[in-house]
Each structure stands twice: as structure tokens, then as C-alpha cells.
Subunit: 692 residues, 2 copies
């Protein structure tokens, strides 16, 4: 019987991973199409069919104005007769109004239905994988609201990406599917492992990078990661990426919205400047994190935006529309900007579409390279500014794409400057390599390294970022420049002592997240005995003298999450612990089976066979030998492995023990007797006081 | 003071990682050059300078026979006059003799100086990272012998690679360098993390694949891997790969001895056949592991080779020479064979050198495709056979390259067959895609997927293998075929229930390695109480009534690795534990400082500040207030975190606890009192009985 149970579990896991992968692929394809359609709807509508986007509606034509099948709103609504001569203004106003409607709908959905859908969701997923319980974060309502909200937010043209939220969406999907498999749902560790796999699938579809997704899940999202998870995550990410590729949402075989051309040549002397983009990316990432924190604190202090979150969102949307609508090359979506930044200037602009051509004409004007540099500089700051005010609003917004855009702009700026310097001083010793090659210094490569460095600076990941960029650039040609940039960015971040944006949000939102890096051992406060911060006395359950009613009274009277089980009140020796949830669960069953009225005694003794929750009830029933006086055996809901620590241990050592074991609560012993308790939350609080 | 200690540690780690990376790069370059020179020395010698290899000596010429500067031994030694007409035979005999001399020297070095240098070393590194202590495995003597031995074994033409041993060499280097930093050497966890980084650097230089190396270390070698290690390993692997690239050992900018051409086209219908290569690779991997095990058992049973390991080596060498010397395309080294297998047939054979041209002519003869297939089939079996008898001899031999060769041969065979089928039945529904493209089915891609699948079947890795192949093939073009092949190979292996070759060797050599996969819960024996297999009574130390002489007596009398510290013999409550090593260390210091003669009392109380071994002595000295009666405070050598478990817990739950905490010993409690002890070794023994 237990053999089949194991096989069934394995089969369930395989089925679940396949389904999550497939659904993530479909979801990403749906979101890609929906966002494009919604974005185009801000400008006008297709005359042939409302649900066609600009590119499909106007196939063959190269510009919005020469396309007869797609008409601007002023034309569709026949407003040009009323406001003759003002149709451009009318179009702009309608553009703004539609954007505002999008974000307003999104905000109302999020605020009224699913507050957890706001933000990227990665900090929360990180916390959940760390063992934090967050009710409703992975519910189906959150999933639907997040899906709709993210398409609206991105389509509205905010400095927001849909790539980060994919991680949350993947985890929601996985949690929903898990609820069909009780075997998995009740195995906390396996459940968290599957969530890690779903995160990997999320990043995999976000960047068309299955291996990078797995590594991101490992490096940034997960707390524990065994090699078994690696394999599961890889399978799930692979299925997701393949599904997306087969769905082909952009009709060009690509899975990512922006393209990076491969095989632009680079010279060895440029390594110095790639490192420079890395340093600048690291600094910009830090600036983003710090100013975002400042902005959050400012909002908290003045409270206006806190009371009116929709007002904040509308202001941010309006600001973004006004700032970028009239700009030459910043008016497109972030993906379009990235595509043009990553494209090298060439004479052959035939294949490019309208916006790309205009951007390219702008970015590649050799005569006005000073103006190009200035535009890139201004663009960097505007995009950084909008990213800062956007991240943290009550809409589902990711930070991947805005970071890439800011970094790309800044990197391209450095590239343009280097190219200018090489053109001006061709005989400078460092540039000598250039004399040999016909075309030297491609600003596009600098845009790529700058984007990677900035993303690294914001998320503080390194290895996974390199792999994601490797998969994005479709090869190893830029491996060295990207590695250099990411390494330098990481160093700069380490020197500036910043947390990643995700860890910052975990801290701000006070999730009980225990970091795996060692505590700062130099503080003498860490060396006080844990006895001085423990909670005592402890509410205990004895292993064989309690009755069912005692348990019921216990969980109504005390709000603790865990209760220790001791041999007897005299001996006071801990044998295990039991969670509040498990007690409530068993009590519910007893009420259902009309056992509670007889108030039987309860025993906690170690199980003699494979325990799963089903067998807990079977024992419960078989034990009723006499009708009047019988006991319930609850050993199967008991946790044997409890972290027990002598209560005179220094706190830093206790922190280490919590980090190493992943325990949520530690029982403190004095001469073998239970003397106190300390929870993960206490530990985190103590670590905060230590670091401040 | 403690601040500087932390900074110093970080600085030491950075310095160490950089040095290991640099040295691994140099080492790999040295080995590449040494092996090529030694290999060519089997055929003849360069007239210009003895230390030049064939390629350098004969630059510009395309064949050994047309090269005037490099002469065969029969010519050099002027033997053609004596044995006129027999010079080919003389050359063959000299070839064999030189090979035998190589392996003989290698074997003598290994057997007399460093027995641990034999084999690939990966099983042992795995065991060390799992917490096993293996004295001498990472010594400088082992390093030197392994370095020399691996060049001799590969140069002798054995079915052995130098890529696996790089992992061991990297770890040796790391351990040697660590001995200069006592701060690191005494931090067991950090030390093992650095060894994991060195393993990553080893694989990185083996395949020029820094990211793949990191993943291999994570997936196959390491037991625990935090995201901090990921970053360190990545840095170390990156430095190593870059150093190797700058060293440029092959004078062509490549870091790997075999090349894989990129961007051969493949069609969707071929996915089926790529999956087939995967399945065959998985099966061949299993066959390799099983026959190698059988061969080992056979050797064990008959004992002849056990008594005469050098005899075995000489026989294997002679057999390999005779089998492959006269073959048309198997006579080259494994790397040469792989290069020709991975190369697609083309009309342009101008750029290829002598051997590659001959192989290509052979592999690409369209008329005799039946003979080609037969040759590939025979080649697969011969290479598999030699790989089986070679892996396990007392020489440093890796299994990566032989696996790739067998898989490549077999994959190419499938490719040739598929191509034949497509040519014969062009109108078969499945092949319809081919009618559209000019050239259809490249057997070279099948060789790549087959090689990956076979390596996956032998080592049971998946994600890291895909990344390594991605880095080897220099792009994502073959990502899907490789992924399919590796996935199928993994599934086949899972269905056949095989361990990786490394885990097999860990089992055979009985290293106390605790696997992280969950125990087989269906066995009822796992549900007996741990009390029935624990050791009792336990030899204890009390926390404040022992004297120094008692400790000394204890470690001479009992050979245990750990001693528990209890409050008193009456109370019998555990407060921590202390290792035999730490006691011996402190005893040594006491003897040095002439404290032992006064036989002071020893106290074990928790430290009140940052403990490192230096501070252990300072307490030792300051405590001596009165000359006659003083006590030593040894709290800093005590381990507070001991795994304590109630002794009525089922064994499967105890196994889980060991796996989760990484503990080496568990103390069993009965009502809070210490009642017994169980070690990791006991647990492993029990798991073995459970599975059998």
C-alpha cells in the first residue's frame, strides 16, 4: 500500500510539473498577445476586427499613418470634424485617458479583490519558500487579478514589466494545481520545492531562458535547493519555454519581446569600458534601491498616497504619459526601446518597422552624436525616475524590464561616448587595436552589458543573470563582456552594502524571513545567552495525560503556532512538538465523527509505520476498543524533530542553528528540562536590533 | 578586533579563489601541452627540438609522412637499415613499448606514493563535501602524482580522460592553499564550500564551460550549496576559464580539445530520433555502469589483478594499443575521434589536418554507408569495452571523455542510419520535411546528442550537462536536441534504477556518504524504534568535574570521534559535544605550555564572545589565577548544536533528521536523559540493509 502511495506521489509530481509548464507557456503567450493588443488600443483600433493588434492589422505597411486598416481614435470616432486641426491633441488626450482607465481598473481590482497581487511578488515568494505562511497570496483570485492587472499596467505604458510577476503567477498556478493532490499539499517541503520549480518556469517564459530560470530560482528565490529540485525545476522550465516557443506569440519564432543581435565584434581594450558599464550599472542599481526606499518613506510620512493609492497610480500614469508621449525615441514600450538600444547602427534599415526605424535614425545620427548622448543621459534619468515612483504602487509591476531599460540607456550612453573618444583620438595607446578593424566599438554591446549590470545591481543576482543574458543573446559571444560587467556590478553593490530590492521589500513588509548569510559576529550583543530573550514559561502538552477537551481549550486560549509535547509536568522532558494547525485538523475530524463529546484521552507516541494524515484517522477509529473509555493515538501528527538547544547558548550560535536547520521554533533546555521557547520571529527581531 | 578578523577572512577567501582559478588555468594549459607532446612522442620525435609536439614541429605540412622535421622512431634511431622492410612493425612495437612505459611509470607512482591519486577522484570529493574525512586525499603528494599520472595515462592512449581528474586536482590545490590560511582551514563549512568552488573551476577548465562547471559542482559534487557559494564558485570558475583562454594551449583560441561546429540545420521530425539517441545513451550508460561493476566483482573474486595491479594496467594498455593502432579512424586520441564525429561531412576538407581528413573521408564515404555504420557499431562496442576495463585501474583516469566518445560513436551510428532511411524512403510521411530542405539529417548532431546522453547516463547529471554542452557548442542552436536527449537519458536511467558511477564507487569503497534523497519508506524495518540500533552506554564528559588527565585517558581509551558533554552523571542531561580532534589539540597545547603536569580541572561553559581557536588558548592562560588550583575553560572547543532525538523515534525519521541537519552523530534521549548514540555510519549501514 505504501509502495503505491510513493509511486502515486511521484506520478503526481510529474503530472503537476508538466501541467505547470504547459500552462505557464500558454499564460505567457496570452499575456504577450493581450499586452500588445491593449497597448495598440491606446492609439486606435483595427477596422477589420477589433481584436487585431497593429502589427497583424497592418501587415505589409511600415507606418501607422500609411496603414489604412488601422485608424487612430480621432478618425474612428470621427472627431476630426468637430476638433479640426486638433486631432493630434485629441489623440494624445484619448491616449492618456485610456491609460488612466487601464491603471484605474487594475488598481480597483487589486485593492478591492486581491491586495497581494500588487508588486512583483518575488519578495513574497522568497518569504514563502523560506517557510513563511501567507494566506491568500497564492489563491485563485490573486492569480486572476494579477494576470489582468499586469496586462493593464504594462499596456498603460508604465515603467513596469510583466516578467517579474510571472514568478508569482507560476507559483499561484502551482498552488492551485497542488490543491488537487492532497498527498503533495500536505507535504510542506515538497510543496515548497514545487513552488521553486514554478518560479523557474516563470523566469524561463519571461526571458525564453530555461536554464537561466532554474538558476534564478536557485540563486534568488529559494532558500533550500537540492539536486532533485534542480532536475524538477529544469524539466518544468523546459516544458514552459518550449510551449511558449510553439505558441509563437510574436509570429517570428522568438519568445522574448526584445531582440539582441549576435556576433557584433568587440576588442580587448573595451573590457575596461565594459567594466565601467558594470560599475555604473551597480551604482545605478544602488541609486534605484535607495531612492525607492526614500520615496516609500516619504509616502509613509505624508500619508496622502497611503490614503489614496488610486490617486497615486493615476498621477504616476499621467506623469508617465506626459513625459514620454512626445519624446522621440522613448515613446515606445520598454521592449521597443530595448530592441533599438540593443541594435547596432547599420545602413540597412529596410526590415525595421516604423518606431524602430525612427529610433534607429535617432540613435545612429553620427553628426549629432552629442545630442544622442544628451538624449540618452536624459532618458536614463527619466526612466530611472519613473521606475522609482512606479515600483511600489498597488499594481502588479515587475522590475526586470525597467531595470534593463535604464541600464541599457546608460550603457549605450557610455558606448556612444567611447565611440566618440575612439573617433576623436584614434592614436591613443589604448585604442590602437581599433586601427586594424574597420568598424570599432559597437554601442549596442555596451547597452547589453549596461542592462545586465543594472539588473544585477537591483536584484543582486550574478550567475543566473549571466546565464539569462547568454540565453537572450543566443550564444557565448558576449559572455566575457557580460561576465565582467556583472562581476563589477556585484562588487560595487557589495562595497556599497546594499540588499537586493526583494530583500528590502521583505524587510519593509516585515515578513519573518531568515537570511542564510551568517550574522555579524562582531557585535557583542550577539554573545548574550539566549536565556535572556527566550519566552518562558512554555505552554506544554503531556504525552499521555491530556484529554481532547484540553487540546481544544489550549488552542482557543493560546495563539501559539507550536506546542511542545513533554513526558510529564514533573519530568518536563520534551519528546516532540505539534502544530496548532494539526490539532485543529484532528479536532475537526473528531467533531465530525462524534468523538469529541466522549472526551477521550489523547496519546502522543511515535508512529510504528508510514505516517500520513489518512492513517492518523484510521488509528483514531481502531483505538476505540471500549465505548466509554478509549484513547486517541495522535502520534502521527506529532513532529519528532524539534530544535533543542541548551538555554545558556549565545544567541549568535542559536541563529546559526536556525539557519542550518530551517526550524521555525527552538525549544530551550536547562539540564534536559524544557525551560523556554524561541521562535524564528524572535530571532529575526534580534538580528535586526543587532545590525542597527 | 573581531571586525578585522571577519574582513581578513573575506580577503583570504577572495585571494584564495583568485589563486585557485589562476593556477587551475595554468595547470590545464600545462596538462594540455604535456599530453599532446607525450602522445606525439609515441610516434616519433621532432628533429628541431625534442620538446616540440607534432603540430608545432610540422607547422604547414598536413601529414606525418610529408613532414621532414618530425621523424618516426624507426628513422630517428636508424633502425630501418637493420629491420629493412619492417619499419612499420618496428614503429608499432615502439609505440606499444612507449605506451607501456608511460602507464608503468604512472602505476608505480600511484601505487607507491599516492594510492588516492587513482581513479577520477570525483567520488572521493563528493564524499569529502558530504562531511567524510579522508586523510591524504588532498595532499601535495597526491596532487603531484595525479598530475603526472593523468598526463601519462592519457598520453598512453588509454580510454581515459583528464577532465574528471581536474576536479580532484582543483580540490588538492585549494586544500594546499587553505593550509596557508588557518582562519579558513579551521572553519569546516567554509573549507568545504571552497572545495566546491575548486571543483567548479576544475570542470570549467575541462570543458571551457564556467557556468557548466558551477552547475556540475552544485548538481553532482556538492551536498550543500548556498547562493553565496554559487557566487564564489562562479568567480573561481570564471577566472580559471579565462586564464586557460589567455594561455591558449592549442594556439587556436579554443579551450577544449575537440570542436563542435555550430549551426548545422535540423528538422522537427528529427526530435524523435534525438530522443532515440537519448534512450540509447541512457541504456549504454547503464550498461557501462553495470558491466564495470561486474568486472570489479570478477577481479575481486579471482584476485589476480588485485595482487598485480601493475600487471592489469600493462595488459589494459597493451590491449588498447593493439585494438586501436591499426584501426582506420579509432587510432587517434579520444579528442580527435570526437572532433571527427562532431564534424559534418562537407566537400571542403582543405582546412583539416591529416588524421581528421582521413577520418572524414572514412565517415563521409556515401557509397559505403553500410560499412560506415558497421565501423561505428564496432567502434562503439570496442570503446565501451576498453572504457569498462580501464575505469577502475590504479591510474588517474577520468570517465567524461570515454563516455562522450562511446556516446558520440553510437549517436553518429543512429544519425547515419536515419540519413540512410531518409535517402531511401524520401516520401515517408515523417520525412516529408526533408523534401523542402537541400541537405537533411546531419549525423554530426546525433553524435553530439548521443555523447551528451551517454555522459548523462553514466554520471546521472542533467542540468549541468545541458549547460556544458551549450557552452561547448557555443550557442543555443542545439539546445532543444540536447535537452531532449538528456531528458530521455535521465528518464531511462531512472526507470532502470541506477546510481551514477560516482555513487557506485562511493558505495563500493564504503565511504560514509549520506545521500540526500529520502529513504525508501515502504520497508517496515524502517519503522522500528532507533533504540534498537543505538549504541549504549555512552562515554560522557561532565561539564565541570573532569580533569585534564581524565580527558587524556578518555581519548586514549576510547576511539570515538565525538564525546557528549553532560551536566552531571546523575542528571545526565546533554549540553553539547566535543570532538576527539579538539580534545587532542587542546591537550597538545597544554603539554607545550607545561600545564598538563598540574592536571587542572576543565570547564565546558558557553563562550561569551566570538570564539576561534586562538581565543581558546587565551582563556586557558588567563584562567590560571592561583598556581596550584586552577581550571581551564574549554567552552570554545565545544559544539553546542548536537542533534538530539527521543530514542523511541522510528529510524526513517532519524534518517531524515541526519539528512536535513548534516550532523555526523545523533544523541538519543529518554525522558531528557542521554540514553544512547547513533552515528552517520550506523545510519548508512542501516539504510543499506533496508534497501537490500
Amino acid at each position: 500500500k505504501s509502495w503505491t502511495s510513493n509511486t502515486r506521489k511521484n506520478f503526481a509530481v510529474a503530472l503537476l510539473l508538466t501541467t505547470v509548464g504547459l500552462l505557464m507557456g500558454f499564460l505567457a503567450a496570452y499575456l504577450d498577445i493581450a499586452v500588445e493588443w491593449l497597448s495598440d488600443l491606446k492609439f486606435g483600433v483595427c477596422n477589420m476586427a477589433v481584436f487585431l493588434n497593429w502589427a497583424t492589422c497592418c501587415e505589409g505597411t511600415s507606418s501607422l499613418d500609411t496603414c489604412s486598416t488601422f485608424s487612430r481614435w480621432s478618425t474612428t470616432l470621427q472627431l476630426q470634424n468637430i476638433f479640426s486641426g486638433w486631432s493630434a491633441t485629441v489623440d494624445f488626450l484619448l491616449y492618456c485617458v485610456i491609460s488612466l482607465i487601464y491603471t484605474c481598473i487594475g488598481a480597483i481590482l487589486v485593492i478591492t479583490l486581491a491586495p497581494y497581487a500588487a508588486g512583483s511578488g518575488i519578495p513574497e515568494v522568497k518569504a514563502i519558500l523560506n517557510g513563511v505562511v501567507m494566506k491568500g497570496f497564492l489563491s485563485s483570485l490573486t492569480f486572476i487579478v494579477k494576470m489582468l492587472g499586469v496586462s493593464l499596467a504594462v499596456a498603460a505604458g508604465l515603467s513596469a514589466g510583466k516578467e517579474g510577476p510571472y514568478v508569482h503567477l507560476g507559483c499561484c498556478l502551482c498552488a492551485l494545481l497542488c490543491s488537487f493532490f492532497p498527498l503533495i499539499r500536505h507535504d510542506g517541503r515538497l510543496y515548497r520545492e514545487l513552488l521553486a520549480c514554478a518560479s523557474a518556469a516563470g523566469v524561463a517564459v519571461a526571458f525564453g531562458a530555461p536554464v537561466g530560470g532554474v538558476l534564478f530560482s536557485l540563486e534568488e528565490v529559494s532558500t533550500y535547493f537540492s539536486s532533485q529540485v534542480l532536475w524538477h525545476a529544469f524539466y518544468c522550465a523546459f516544458v514552459a519555454a518550449m510551449t511558449l516557443k510553439v505558441m509563437n506569440p510574436y509570429y517570428n519564432g522568438k519568445t522574448v519581446i526584445f531582440e539582441i543581435p549576435s556576433n557584433l565584434p568587440w576588442n580587448w581594450f573595451e573590457i575596461v569600458f565594459f567594466a565601467l558599464t558594470g560599475a555604473v550599472g551597480g551604482i545605478l542599481g544602488t541609486v534605484f534601491i535607495r531612492t525607492n526606499l526614500l520615496w516609500m518613506k516619504l509616502k509613509e510620512k505624508h500619508g496622502f498616497f497611503k490614503r489614496h493609492p488610486i490617486g497615486e497610480i493615476l498621477l504616476v500614469t499621467l506623469g508617465t504619459c506626459v513625459l514620454f508621449y512626445f519624446s522621440d525615441f522613448l515613446s515606445g514600450s520598454n521592449s521597443e526601446i530595448l530592441t533599438s538600444l540593443f541594435n547596432e547602427c547599420s545602413d540597412d534599415t529596410q526590415e525595421l518597422d516604423d518606431i524602430a526605424k525612427r529610433n534607429e535614425a535617432y540613435l545612429c545620427s553620427i553628426k549629432n552624436s552629442k545630442y544622442v548622448a544628451l538624449a540618452l543621459l536624459v532618458g536614463t534619468f527619466l526612466k530611472l525616475f519613473t521606475a522609482v515612483i512606479t515600483f511600489g504602487i498597488k499594481l502588479p509591476t515587475g522590475i526586470f524590464i525597467p531595470s534593463l531599460t535604464v541600464g541599457g540607456l546608460c550603457g549605450r550612453l557610455i558606448g556612444v561616448l567611447v565611440k566618440g573618444a575612439v573617433t576623436k583620438y584614434p592614436k591613443f595607446a589604448l585604442f590602437r587595436e581599433c586601427l586594424l578593424s574597420s568598424s570599432c566599438v559597437s554601442p549596442a554591446i555596451y547597452a547589453v552589458t549596461g542592462a545586465a549590470a543594472m539588473l544585477g545591481g537591483v536584484t543582486r543576482v550574478s550567475v543566473s543573470l549571466v546565464v539569462i543574458m547568454m540565453e537572450l543573446t543566443n550564444g557565448l559571444h558576449y559572455l566575457l563582456p557580460i561576465m565582467i560587467a556583472v562581476l563589477v556590478s556585484k562588487w560595487v553593490g557589495d562595497v556599497l552594502h546594499v540588499d537586493s530590492i526583494y530583500e528590502l521589500y521583505i524587510k519593509i513588509k516585515r515578513y519573518p524571513y531568515l537570511r542564510s548569510n551568517p550574522p555579524n559576529e562582531n557585535s557583542r550583543t550577539g554573545w548574550i545567552s539566549v536565556r535572556s530573550i527566550m519566552h518562558t514559561p512554555v505552554v506544554c502538552i503531556t504525552s499521555n495525560s491530556f484529554r481532547l477537551s484540553d487540546l481544544e481549550r489550549l488552542i482557543t486560549e493560546y495563539k501559539y503556532w507550536n506546542f511542545p509535547i513533554i513526558t510529564s509536568f514533573e519530568e518536563n522532558a520534551i519528546v516532540g512538538s505539534v502544530s496548532r494547525e494539526a490539532i485543529a485538523f484532528v479536532l475537526g475530524l473528531c467533531h465530525r465523527d462524534n468523538l469529541a463529546s466522549r472526551d477521550p484521552r489523547v496519546h502522543f507516541s511515535p508512529p510504528s509505520h508510514l505516517s500520513n494524515l489518512h492513517e492518523a484517522y484510521s488509528i483514531l477509529n481502531t483505538n476505540s476498543s471500549s465505548l466509554e473509555d478509549f484513547a486517541l493515538e495522535l502520534g502521527s501528527i506529532m513532529d519528532f524533530f524539534t530544535l533543542t538547544i541548551p538555554d545558556n547558548t549565545p544567541v549568535v550560535k542559536v541563529i546559526e542553528a536556525f539557519q542550518n536547520t530551517g526550524a521555525r521554533v527552538g525549544w530551550l533546555l536547562n539540564g534536559g528540562k524544557l525551560s523556554g521557547v524561541i521562535s524564528k520571529k524572535d530571532i529575526i527581531q534580534f538580528m535586526d536590533t543587532m545590525s542597527s
